[in-house]
Point group: C2
Chain length 204, copies 2
């Protein structure tokens, strides 16, 4: 464990009430940074939205940078926690990717601030930005490897396929989730999934 | 023509020497914003890098926002001008997408600042950010429609496929162009293109 992680552990909530306050601060930070961006967003704006005192903020976070980093990690985890149990219901490895995109589109439509926050991490906290995409791609590569082992997809699937499919999903989420949600999400997911099915599905 | 464009036209260089100065300022702005980001980058940093006087800056640009917007449009055009003539050499519609990705990977490796600049436009100039991706996707959708008319790809290709393939390319460029260029670009392009060929190529 690094010194940074040790310091953060000192600020981890010890009670259910503390956990609720920390969660309220993270939700307020998502609204504040999603609306104003990192530079114009402020700790006082966050505590005002959360309806809590400035002292409570410093009980759980060290600084504006600290809560931003925690928010990026939290949103990255929220996407995973929304998508993963839905993928677990899939019929097979190809259907898993359809459900992965469909549930990501649903998540992006309900949390339109997610792109602004994760994308701004490229400038505010490069390590958190890379971690989000590297973790997402690693999960997808592991899913594809399992699907290949079960014979659902081609045996030659590898990291390039995971980054390609993740990139598809990110831009379909931006275009059909955040910018314009007039097209049914399941239609978009079905079209993209047909490409993936033909692209990496077993041909024999 | 909007009032903004009319104002910009007043600042368009009238001589070859003026065009060289404007070009030097844009290159300096790419280095300045690529290294420091928009907020910490400055007009004086740009003129210092370009080796020209502050007065010259204001001959061609109104403000830091103005040169940033011009830079995003210029980089978007540079990608197009690098990729398009190479795509024109393609054997068919599928090969065009392989060359499109390969030349984009080459461009990203040679201009690693492109992601920082175009991605920061999401926060500094949302219209320029959307225009870059909407124009890129429109060009790709037009290419796919032509390929479908020639029988190179499936007849049902549409906008979702264009956004899917563009997203693939953007993330493969980030992963294998900017973050880590140790893998041969043509190998990455061939793997992704095989996915696209099976995904949207004609099966009959």
């Amino acid at each position: 464990m690094s010194a940074g992680e040790a310091a953060k552990d000192d600020k981890a909530p010890r009670t259910a009430r503390g956990e609720r306050t920390r969660r309220a601060l993270l939700s307020a930070a998502a609204a504040e940074f999603g609306e104003k961006g990192f530079h114009d967003g402020s700790i006082s704006g966050i505590t005002r939205r959360a309806g809590c005192a400035l002292g409570s903020f410093y009980t759980y976070f060290d600084s504006k940078d600290d809560i931003f980093r925690a928010l990026v990690n939290d949103m990255s985890g929220q996407v995973r926690d929304y998508v993963s149990p839905r993928i677990a219901q899939a019929r097979d490895g190809i259907d898993a990717e359809r459900i992965g995109l469909l549930s990501f589109l649903e998540f992006a439509r309900a949390h339109k601030e997610i792109y602004r926050i994760i994308d701004e991490a490229e400038f505010v906290d490069q390590a958190a930005y890379r971690a989000h995409y590297e973790n997402t791609a690693s999960r997808m590569a592991a899913r594809l490897a399992n699907a290949a082992a079960r014979g659902d997809v081609r045996a030659d699937v590898e990291e390039v396929h995971a980054w390609a499919i993740m990139g598809m999903n990110v831009f379909l989420g931006l275009r059909y989730g955040v910018w314009d949600d007039s097209r049914p999400a399941d239609e978009v997911a079905a079209i993209a999934n047909a490409l993936v099915e033909r692209g990496i599905g077993r041909s024999d």
